[in-house]
Subunit: 169 residues, 2 copies
DNA sequence: CAATATTGTTTTGCTATCAAAGTAATATTG
DNA sequence: CAATATTACTTTGATAGCAAAACAATATTG
């Protein structure tokens, strides 16, 4: 039964990823900027200090190679500026241009309005539960490689516990 | 606070998507097949009857154009066969080759073992809760365009309800 | 039955992603 | 201080994904 659940998780994830992609494509059509590009601008705007390319990549969870391409496009549109670091000239500091700030101010939400609306209507406890669930998934995926061994002794049993006391929520 | 939660959802989703991408890249390295390709093979294997390209695309939640490229690669590796439909020659029927079936039998799981292991160790109620949360997200994203109007009257209030009775779980 | 519409797939042009290799600048060490 | 290692970024070559246009075959209709 557990294997089945995992498969269902995968399917749900694929549907979500698909939806996010669709929205990104739609944004590209209407705004001329993709989700990744807007997210990049937003992260720059929120930063307390100018970010280097590598720092930025880490914050938005992308490899540097991927970010380079995104910056290329943002720079081509003059929304972002690349400057070599003064102290360390290997670094490339990224700053928002005024145009970038402007575009960002007008940018639509990064998740479909469908979702944003529906989600915002949920009672708070439910929002929290959903958020905590996907954060859980994210953690489990990024989890450190298993502490080796110990794999046979505590093999996954098909536990059928009862829910925890309410305090756990 | 709600807007904030939405942003956190987005961030968690991006981390998950990133992890899935990384795993797909790893699969490509080790097995020579990406997640999308394996998932395609699996869907073919599970089907009760030969699928047309369009039918397949729908089942794996992709556009036809995207699927065409995936099929190109699978066909190049002789894992899959394209045949024109006999009754309706517009259709392209996809069938697994023996090699395809073989490869599929040896294929590793489509989500990182980290995740699969961690998830399978969770108590059942927790697995269900997580699954239901992401299915919820998927639904909200695919939800039909809003029934128009009514947008000001039932604007999203920042409700602070208490959790529901346990029966709701 | 010929013109038009619909349906099914592929093609094209773009963005996003990754890994790995390449380049340039800084840091370390013998 | 010169050789080597490390760090920061870009380039390259794949795959995946979309929309829109092209193409090909079937269905409909006047």
């Amino acid at each position: 039964m557990t294997a089945n659940q995992t498969r269902e998780v995968l399917i749900a994830l694929r549907r979500i990823i698909h939806a996010v992609d669709l929205h990104s494509a739609a944004l590209t059509q209407t705004v001329g900027l993709s989700t990744a590009q807007i997210f990049t601008l937003q992260t720059l705007a929120d930063a307390e200090h100018p970010l280097s390319a590598g720092e930025l990549a880490m914050r938005i969870d992308l490899t540097q190679g991927t970010l380079t391409a995104i910056l290329d496009r943002l720079e081509r549109k003059s929304l972002v500026l690349r400057t070599r670091g003064q102290d360390d000239r290997r670094k490339v500091l990224i700053t928002l241009t005024d145009a970038g700030r402007q575009v960002l101010a007008d940018a639509p939400p990064l998740l479909q309005q469908n979702f944003t609306r529906a989600f915002s209507r949920l009672p708070n406890w439910e929002q929290s539960q959903i958020l905590s669930s996907i954060q859980r998934i994210a953690e489990m995926m990024h989890a450190p490689p298993p502490p080796e061994a110990a794999s046979l002794l505590d093999a996954p049993r098909d536990r059928t516990d009862t829910p925890p006391p309410l305090e756990a929520l």
